[in-house]
Subunit: 221 residues, 2 copies
DNA sequence: CGGGCGATGGCACTCAGTGCACGCCAGGCA
DNA sequence: TGCCTGGCGTGCACTGAGTGCCATCGCCCG
């Protein structure tokens, strides 16, 4: 029933546009009652994002379990869960991307979905950084940066119709964030002509990590 | 007329809640026709954010003019414009904050407003970083981080009913971001005590630049 | 004084979303 | 077998946001 409604909805959305399709059209095509639509989807927008609720639950569970000695790495891995959901069904994801790009209402809805992911990441980081000076600020900024990097890579993959290696692109983007905010060492990547690199490491950081970051910052990693 | 509608709307929103107030109620209190409401505000949500359109225009203009030798500093200053708008009218801002916190629809709308600010910042940074390796990625991440830091400080100020120094809080938050992503030097600010610093400089870098970067990294710039 | 003209108001309409009650069907029980 | 019950789907009527269209009114200009 759910799947039938999603299928009917997307057929019509792609055929004649989102705003030009009414809920009555969808239920007529799916052969079900109008009232049933709103049983399965609280709003017309929800039918466009049928799998985010599950993915958000997965992310929350992921953040609540397992090792977490490196919070930044953990939230990067959590973000990758979202990419996996998109990559599960590239054709569907690309179609939805085109739809959300040209329908302001859907873009706004997507923002609220992304916001919930970001709050999940930030909530995890806040608890991990509790007690640190500016821990909450740091948590919010890192969560925002991770989401931005992930979405940057995801969108460029979607724009290329799902061709190319999405995972590699996301890994590359997240690596930038991880590098800028890593919990152990912070390689300084500057924007201008990069003839000077400064690396600052905490006392107590494993030497091999410092060496690794140095090599990476110097482009010889 | 605009102001009258905003005043009437907020009186009712605070009195009996946002969702419990219809547009008919607002126009009845303001003594104008229902059709005129939608002339001034495209939707019921817009009446809650009557000044963001102007602020966004101000920000866009600010980014398009003046010096821009340090892009990160520039976008931080642009973000401060938003704070100024909030600080112009603390009582109103606090009321609106309480409203948006408890009405999901308004929160979603606010997200789309924030998103437009973020895209303005990112667009500026994208043009400044054009040509750099991963320039677009860097632009998006920095814009997201700046917005997150700004909002973190802004919200904690709003939560305290507009007491305290909002500008100082935002300056502090933005300084974290500026430090992490500065265009010239990138001091690595981590959460803990930074009592050891390792400096690596590329062969061929001017010595004065190395000294400069080191001082900056050590927070003595 | 008459003719635009821009701002306002009224009216009817579409469509999303909701509350309510009815019908249907499956399963437990005497 | 007949009955009760609880959940699921459905039809219906209603509210309220948002829109298109046209009438109206005040105002400036020739």
């Amino acid at each position: 029933m759910r799947d039938a409604l999603v299928a009917a909805a997307f057929r019509l959305f792609l055929e004649r546009g989102y705003e030009e399709t009414t809920v009555d059209d969808i239920v007529a095509l799916a052969g079900v009652g109008r009232r049933s639509f709103f049983r399965y989807f609280p709003s017309k927008e929800d039918v466009v994002f049928p799998d985010h609720e599950r993915c958000l639950a997965d992310m929350t569970e992921f953040l609540a379990t397992g090792a977490d000695d490196e919070p930044v790495r953990k939230v990067c891995d959590a973000a990758r869960l979202v990419l996996l959901m998109y990559a599960e069904n590239p054709a569907f994801s690309v179609q939805r991307y085109r739809l959300t790009r040209q329908v302001p209402g859907l873009r706004a809805y997507e923002l609220s979905v992304v916001w919930r992911y970001e709050r999940a990441l930030a909530g995890y980081l806040r608890s991990r950084y509790a007690g640190l000076r500016d821990g909450i600020l740091r948590a919010d900024v890192i969560a925002a940066a991770v989401v931005a990097a992930h979405n940057n890579a995801l969108r460029s993959w979607l724009r290329s119709d799902g061709k190319g290696d999405a995972e590699a692109a996301v890994d590359h983007a997240l690596e930038h964030v991880r590098a800028a905010f890593a919990d152990e060492a912070v390689p300084a990547v500057t924007g201008g002509p990069e003839d000077v690199v400064v690396i600052v490491a905490r006392r107590g950081a494993p030497l091999w990590r410092v060496v690794q970051e140095a090599e990476s910052a110097l482009g010889r990693g």
